[in-house]
Structures are given as C-alpha cells and as structure tokens.
C-alpha cells in the first residue's frame, strides 16, 4: 500500500522543491488554459484598459504644450480634447473593472475545477486509504490547500499579469513621447527587480521561521487546552506558561525581523526609487530645457506616468511571499489527484437471485503482523439468514468489510455464486449487495430523499421498502408522510427511526445480499423487534449476513458463526449452540446478566 508522504508540519518546505515547482506551476497554468474563451476576453480587455489608461497623460500633454503654453484656446479643439479625455478616462476605468472581474472568474474556475478533481479522486479511492490518513488532513487538502492555490491565482498571477501589461503599456506610451526620458524611467525596473530578488532570498527563511513558530504556538495552545486538566492536576501551570511565553516571544522577535526586512526592502525602498527616478527625470528635462529641445507638457506627462507605474510595482513586490506557500499547497493537492484509484475492474454479472457466498481460507490484517482474520472457511447459502457474533475485536465486522469489497483478503478467496467476488463489475456488485451500518447516515432532506438517495427507483419499490422496513406505522402518523423533513444527521427523530430509514434505503435497491454491520447496536428493543421481523420476511429473497452484538437479533438465523480472535470457534443455529457448553452459551448468559443489571437501573 502506498501512503501519501504526509507532511503534517506544513511549514517545513522540502529543500529541493525547485524542480517540482516548475512542473507544478506548469500544471496550474494548464488549468487556466482550460478557460480559453474567457482568457481571450480578459486579455483583450486588459489591452484596451491599458491603452485607454495611458492615453490620459498624452492628452494632458497636448493640452499643456499646444494650447496652454501657447495661450490659445480654440473652442472646438478643446472640446475634442475634453471628450477624448473623458472617453479615455471612463473607458480605462470600465475596461479595467471588467478585466479584473474576468481574471477573477478564471481564477475561481480553476479552483472550482481543482476542487472537483481532487474530490472526485478522493471519493473513489479504496476505503483502506482512509484508515491511515487522518480525516482532518484530507479535508484540509480539499479545502484549505485549494484555498491557498486560489491566493496564487488571484493574488499573485492575476496581479503579475495585470500589472506587467500595465507597466509595459506605460513604457510604450512614454517611448512615443520621448524615448530618452523613457530610458531614464526604465532604470527603475532593474532596481526594483534586484530588490525583489534580494528580498526574496533574505526574507524566505525568516518568513518560514515565522510561520513555523506561529503554527507551533497554535499547536501548543491546542494541545495544552486539551491537556489542561493534567497540567492543573500536576500543578505545572507555571512551567507550561513559561514555555508558551517563550515561544510567543521568539515569534515576536522573528516577526519584528520580517517587519524590519519589509520596511527595509519593500514599500519604503520602492518609494525611494520612485523619488530617485523623479530626480533623474527632472535632471534630464532640465539639461534639455537649457538647450530648449523639450516641452513642459512632456515632463508633466512623465511625472504622471511615474506615479502610475510605481503602485503596480509595489503591489508586485508584496505578493512574492504568497507564491511559495501556494506552490507547496498545489503540490500536495496534485499528489492526491495523481493517486491511483486501484478499483476492481471485473465484468461479471449476477443472475437476479440471492447469491451464494463462500470464504475460502481467508486471511486478513489491517497492519502487518497483526492478523485479524485467520484462515476463515464459511459458506453462506443463497437466501439464508446468517449471524456472526463474538466479543469486541473478534474480527466479525472485518468479514462484513471484506464481503463489501472495502478490502481485499490477504490470502484466500471470497467467491460469489462460485466465481471470485473481485471479478464482478462495480455496477453489478452494487445492485446485488447492500450494507446497513451501526450509525445510520441521515442527511437533511425529506424521508423520501433519504431513502431514494439520488438513485433511480420506481414508486412501487419505495412503498414496498417502506413497509418491509416496518416504517409504515410511524410514517402514517406524520402529517407530511414521506415528505417529512429531517434535519442534519436526523437530529429530529430517534436513533431507531433513523436506523429503520436506512434499512428502507437498503431494501429500496432490491439487493440480493444484505449485510448488517452491528445494525441493532444502538437502538431500543422495540425497533430491534421490527428489524428482526423484516429480516425474517426477507428470508429466501436475499442472502442476509448480520454481524451482531446482540444475540437476540440473530436468534432465528439459519446459521450462526461464533468468532474469537479472528477464528470461527462455533457454528450452528441458536438451538444447537445454546445446548453446547461454549462461547455462544457464555455470550448468551452474559447478555442476560447484562439485561438484568440494566433493568435494575
């Protein structure tokens, strides 16, 4: 089995991630390319926005040089200028607005696609994968990590593309006005790039240290809150408090260092470069004015442009930190998307009759050297009612999991109708087999929704299932009948009613093999009686295998398997087993004693 390289401490970045990064990045871009039409629209809008954006200062320059300095104000010329200016202004605002929404939509589409991809993959992974991955970390992959990728698209890529084009447009406009002065401004770019590179190199380790300390603080806080009773009982408040304060202080120091770096190299630095470029522009302008080859309006326009490209560049420097974090997240998400979903791909079908099931020399363990099932040999006849009992940890539920194909036996074989179970197609298997679990899974919706569960089932079959599951007497008393709305996890009905609904859900599919895994463990004896009756009615119509803690559930079974430490120790029906000295009889006595104790309460 191949487990994901779980990196629970997300702050530890792999050292050699440069090679991965380019691949991951390319893959992220491919997701964006799936939105080609939108991408073209956004690109067109971006170009329009930039073009109209750079037009404004040029118009102002024309006004200053051709009319203001010359002190001539012909009405029509000015009107044309005014209209052009307003049009450019409103156009730039409008195109810019639309463009950023389109870019945002692309980013959101990408994230939507990635989320759907990882979910679709995860939901199809073998059940065994979930035994070793904490649910929390898997959920974090699907939600938080994709959220972090979103930051990359919206906050980093979007800003970089948008701002680069904008800056490029401004430089082209400047070149048209005066290419020498444009070159003066161009000096700004390598300066900013140098600062960005230096900043990234210096700040990355400090920044990561900060994140690591923060997650350490949060982890400590969480752990200490959980263990608070122990800390208090052992009078260790002082020590834990000092330890925590120490971590907080270290974090404070690292944060001050990152802040220092930010202050040293980010906004104040770029602002200073802006000022230096301004000085350069003025100097070049002054020199040329002395030779009277340059117009005032040019300077005006350049100063205007200078202001316009400083802000985008500052924005770009500040987004650098997000990049690294997002790439780590993306890599983790792709790791899941790339997992193989080793599904069974058989093509056998069942005949429309109850199946015969056989376990032949079946061995199984969840973790190596820890056998849960040892050499199991059992036959479940077609249409028979079978019970499996045993104490906690005897392996009885594992048999149910193997029959449901959640796991593959380590050795030995499970056969259905004399052919290997693994070779039946998924569809056929699901139509034939059904499972009822201990905890009924109810979602908010009507009773009917919970029974149908999005499957294609005819009304007659539903009515039949409802009555077979013994739901009628209860449902009839509800004003809305089957349309009665259940709340999240079925909190507004009893545990017994929830279990009856999940049995009706099972029967609605008209399965030929029904597995009950401790289905009567958490319910009252009245509901248990209903379920027992339902099972008796199904005898002959489906092969039933009931794993039960309560012996009363399987009392009338045709065959009962008694399990102990992964082996079948006794086999027979209730009447024969109860007369024998052995585990079954002791289980029975134990449960009677338990009932007496409970009744006393």
């Amino acid at each position: 089995m191949n487990h994901p390289a779980e990196n629970s401490t997300s702050t530890h970045l792999p050292r050699d991630n440069t090679v991965h990064t380019s691949g991951t990045f390319r893959r992220l871009l491919q997701y964006a390319l799936q939105n080609k039409p939108l991408l073209w629209v956004a690109a067109a809008l971006l170009l329009l926005a930039t073009a109209t954006d750079v037009l404004g200062p040029i118009l102002l320059k024309i006004f200053i040089d051709d009319y203001l300095v010359a002190a001539s104000f012909p009405f029509w010329d000015l009107l044309v200028l005014l209209v052009l200016y307003l049009a450019a202004n409103i156009g730039a605002a409008w195109f810019g607005y639309l463009q950023s929404i389109k870019l945002g939509a692309i980013a959101q589409n990408v994230i939507q696609q990635i989320r759907q991809d990882i979910f679709a993959k995860v939901i199809k992974l073998p059940v065994s994968e979930f035994d070793f991955t904490p649910t929390g970390s898997l959920i974090s992959r699907i939600t938080n990590d994709t959220e972090s990728i979103k930051e990359l698209f919206v906050g980093v890529l979007g800003v970089y593309i948008q701002n680069s084009v904008k800056v490029l447009g401004i430089f082209i406009a400047m070149a048209f006005l005066n290419w020498q002065m444009m070159l003066v401004c161009l000096a700004f770019i390598p300066m900013v790039v140098t600062v960005m590179v230096v900043y990234r190199r210096i700040s990355t380790p400090v920044f990561q240290k900060g994140r690591q300390l923060l997650s350490e603080i949060n982890a400590k806080l969480g752990e200490n809150l959980q263990g608070i009773r122990v800390i208090q009982a052992f009078n260790q408040q002082q020590r834990f408090s000092e330890d925590f304060n120490d971590t907080v202080n270290r974090h404070l120091q690292v944060r001050r260092r990152t802040m220092q770096l930010d202050a040293l190299l980010l906004r104040p630095m770029v602002d200073m470069m802006h000022m230096l470029t301004l000085a350069g522009l003025l100097y070049y302008f002054g020199i040329n004015v002395l030779e009277s080859t340059i117009e005032v309006g040019i300077l005006y326009a350049f100063i205007n442009y200078l202001g316009r490209f400083t802000e985008p560049l500052i924005e770009m420097t500040q987004r650098l930190n997000l990049f690294q974090q997002s790439m780590v997240s993306a890599e983790r998400v792709f790791q899941w998307i790339d997992r193989k979903s080793e599904r069974l791909t058989g093509d056998l079908c069942f005949s429309n009759a109850p199946s015969k099931l056989e376990l032949r020399n079946v061995n199984f363990s969840y973790t190596p050297n820890n056998p849960v099932l040892k050499d199991i040999n059992v036959t479940f006849e077609p249409g028979s009612f079978n019970g499996i009992v045993g104490h906690t940890g005897s392996g009885k539920s594992t048999i149910a999991s193997l029959i449901m194909r959640f796991y593959q036996p380590e050795s030995g074989q499970i056969a259905a109708d004399d052919r290997p179970l693994a070779r039946y197609s998924d569809d056929a298997f699901r139509k034939q087999f059904a499972l009822v679990q201990q905890d009924s899974f109810i979602f908010s919706g009507s009773i009917l929704d919970n029974i149908v569960m999005g499957r294609n089932i005819c009304p007659e079959q539903i009515t039949l299932a409802v009555s077979q599951a013994g739901l009628n007497s209860w449902v009839e008393r509800l004003p809305q009948k089957l349309a009665f709305q259940l709340t999240e996890r079925g909190a507004n009905i009893s545990a017994g009613q929830r279990q009856l609904i999940s049995i009706a859900r099972t029967l609605a599919g008209n399965p030929k093999v029904i597995i009950l895994d401790e289905a009567t463990a958490n319910i009252d004896s009245e509901t248990e009686t209903i379920i027992k009756n339902a099972l008796l009615q199904l005898k002959g119509k489906a092969t039933i295998i009931a794993v039960a803690h309560r012996l009363s559930t399987i009392k009338s079974a045709d065959q009962i398997l008694v399990m102990h430490q992964g082996k079948v120790t006794q086999q027979g029906n209730h009447e024969s087993l109860i007369t024998m000295e052995g585990l079954y009889r002791h289980l029975h006595q134990m449960q009677s004693a338990q009932w007496q104790l409970l009744e006393q309460n």
Binding site: Y85, N89, I90, L138, R229, N235, R256, G454, M590
Partner: protein, 582 residues
Amino acid sequence: MKLLQELSWFFKSEWKRYSIAMVLLTGVALLNLFPPWITGRLVDQAIAGTLDASRLQNDVGLIVCLGVAIYILRYLWRLSLYSASYKLGALLRQQVFTHLLRQSETFYNEHQTGDLLARSTNDITAIEMSAGEAILALFDGILTGVVVLTLLFTLIDWRLTLIALLPWPAMAFFFWRINREMHNAFHLAQKSFSDMNDSVQENISGIRLLRAYGLEQHATDQFNEKVANARDANLAVIAAEAKYGPVIFIVVGISFLFAVSGGAWFINQGSMTIGELTSFTLYLGYLIWPMFAYGWLLNLLERGTVAYKRIQALLNSTHQILPEGTQTAPPEATLTWNIHSFHFTEGDGAALQSIAGSLTPGNTLGIVGPTGSGKSTLVKLLTYQLPASNNCTISYGDNRFDHYTTDSLRKQMAIVSQEPFLFSISIAENIALGTPNASLKEIRRAASLACIDDDIQAFPEGYHTLVGERGVTLSGGQKQRIAIARALLMDASLLVLDDALSAVDVETERTILQHLRQNRQGRTTIIVCHRLSALQHAEEIIVLKHGRICERGSHHELLQLQGWYHQMHAYQQLEQAVIEGH
C-alpha cells in the same frame, strides 16, 4: 473608536513607540511636500528660461536627499509602530494563555476547545491589526489630508483647490459603500467555504456508505454544487473589490481635468504659473490615501472591536476559579466528607445526595456504580477539582479544602483521569510531568511499577521517543499506564485512579495493583472502576446509584449482599470467560 479607548492602557504603556512613530510620520508627511513644490518651481524656471545648471543640480540633489531621508523615516516609523502592535499581540496571547491555565473544570465544561482556540489566534490577530494598521490609517490618513489640504488652500490657490476637490466627496462615499459591500460579500464567502468544509467532512466520514450504495456520483454532484456556490460567493467579493479601481480612476481623472482646466483659466488670467499647476496636480495624488484610509479604518476597527469583546469576555470570566486559602496542606491527612446534596447548577436535580464518609491515611477507597451514577462527580469533589457547594463539607485534615492553597493541595494528590492525556513531548518528559527534575532512574522505576517499562524500552528511542504525530502512536492501554507512572512519580500522599485501568488487561491490572500495595504502604488510594476485580483489597467500597450510596462495605461484604455488586461481579466473570474464548 471605542476600541482605541479601551486599548488606551496599551497605548499608554507603549507611549514612547507610538509618539516616535507619530513624529516620524509627521516628518514623512512634511518632507513629502517638497518634491512637488521643487518640480513646480523647476518647471516655471524652465519656462521663464531662468534655469541654469547649478540651480538644476541643487534641485535634483535636494530631491535625492529628500528621497533618502524619507526612506529612513519610513523605515523607522514602521519599526516603532509595528514593534508596538506586535507586542500587543504577544502580550494578549500570553495573558489569555495564563488565564486559561487558571480556569477550573466548570469553565472548560462551558467552553469548546475550538472556540477558545479561535479566540486566542484569529481574534488576537484582529486586535493586533487595530493597534497597528488602524492607528496608522487614523493618524496618517488625517495628517496627510490636513497637511496637503492646508497647503493647497493657503499656498497655491484656494479657488482652484475647491474646484479640483469637487468630485472627491463622491470617492469617500463610494469607498464607504464598497467597503460595506465587501464586508457582506466576504461573510457570504466565508460561509460558503465552511459549507464546503462540512460537505467534505460529511462525505469523507461516510465514505463506506457512499461506496456501499454507489453514491459517489450523488455525493460528487452535491459537493460540486457547494464548490460552485463558493465560486460565486468569491466572485462577488472580487466584483466588489474591483470597484475600487474605477472609482479612484474616474474621480481622480475628473479632478485632474478640473484642476487643469481651472488652472489653465487662472494661468491665462496670470494669477498662476504652469509650475504651480504641476505641483498642484502632484499634491492632488496625495489625497487618495486619506480617502482610502478612512474606509479601511472603519473595517479594521469593526473587526477589532468584535475580537476585543470576545477576548475580554474570556479574560473577565474569573468567577470560575477555585477559592483558595493560605494554609499549606499537610501530607497524610484524613479525608472526611459529608455531602448532603450537590447540584451543578441551582434548580437542577441533585447530582449527589446523602454521601458521608472518611478515608484515613493508608487505606484504599473504591467507588463503583453504573454509568451516570455520579462516580466522577464524587471524585472531583473529593480531590477539589470541583468546589463544594453549601450543603457539602469536605475536609482534609482539620480544615476544608478552601483553607489551603490550591498549589499545596495539588502536591498531595496525584490523579489519573479517565482519558489519559499525553503531550507531544518525549515519554520521559511525559512521565516526569509533575516532577520535571526527576532522574531517568526514578522515571524508569515509576514506569516499572506501572508495567510499561518493557514497552517503552522497545520503542526506537526508548524513553526519549516522542509521543504523537512526530513519534510513536500509543495504544489506549499504554497511554493509561504512562499516566499511572506519571502519577506514581509524584509520590503524593493520595493517589486517585479514576477509571484509569479500563484499557489494561486483567493480568496487567492485577500486577499494577499489587505493585501499588507493595510500594505505597501508609499512603491513601481512591480507585474508581468498572472492573470489580480491582477492588478486592480495598478497605471500603461505595456503590453509587443515581447519586446516592446504595451499597457499601468491603469486597467480601458486598458479595454477601446479593445486590448490584454481586450481580455485576457475576456478569464480569461471564464476560471474562467470553473474552478468553471459553
């Protein structure tokens, strides 16, 4: 604004840093006024033809110097301001944690760990922002606005200023509206995110069912719907945020237009120069930040206020601390209790009723009974994890619990609770939790008594193996035995095993109890348990039912009674046979 008032204690204590930051910010605001002015003058000189090389060099040199000076000031104010605000965050984190450490059982029953965690992380970050960014927005926003406007009105031309400022109120208005829209959209986006989270959680935990019914498609469809909702909600945020751009662009564009047209008129009249107009438009650009700061400030303060309220509510919940006295609790004293009735909250039914007794040093008390009979409550009262109410008297030696300092009482008691909690530190450190200075030899001795030494030796790094995600995963029984070793190392006069052997098998349980009898002679022990075999040697056993004593006596006396204890004993013997496979 009220938030800033409430945080005034902090501003006062950090007044130096804040004052320095404000002086420096004022310096930046004033120095920033020069470059546009120099530019304007240069333009005028150029037009008038009075510009010469030395003047040009002076002006340009001045701007370079200003640039460097402003850079230094900007660097320094950030240092002062954010050093202060980060300190507030650290301070609050430490305060909250220290406070949490002192809270009693009742407090933790009322508060969810997740909620406490959220408050001490996200909320503190929000307050930190208020003490840093909000102060910046407030002070610098107003400062820049006032300085620039004063300059425009007094030094350049008040008429032109009025004309150029005409569209600006619209910007303030739109910023305010966009802010509100953002706020709402953001809320929705967060909600859609947590919906999606729930959906993943539900589906992953129900994976077997989904698989069994072939409902992958159904679940995927539902999830995709949630994802689509999240996408739409996020797009709404983007759409709202995107409105800032056009608002700034159009207002500033029109303002420039007004300034240039008005300026042209005044220049034509001869009351203004082109250079002055150039400076003027540069100054106008400075006004965007104050407009923006205002909306930002409201947002930060709103979030900070909510967060600060939640933190304060947490810090003010001091009534739940156990009352304590000044005396030092003696070792080896008799524990006496007379509980007439005990209620968790006024008006609720009694959790315990008519329970009296005593435990003399050297004896063992057993407490048994069905689930919900009040065993844990009784133990918590007897070990002062819960304060006694009016109808209860519980004394240790000659005094009630609250006459002693809590510290000294805790030193006399070692409690092993139902769910052993191990920290993600080494096993040795976990065992030495209450006695950090214990030697490895002492630690190993305690571990041997708790029958866990062999297990620990088998771990890759022995006693230095880390517990938890980064180290070994321990079984329930191993955890329980480490917790017992931890309590034994304390060598306290009272040892309490509160259902602390439930995951240990009968054989090991027997050995551990035997070790206890041999090594804790003259010490007192309270054992709460399900398995009656653990109580064979107890001097007294209390059987609780519905909060009352229904049977009491020694193991053998109770077996004679033919009551609950007897039946339970019979049942457990059958169960033991089943476990062993007979």
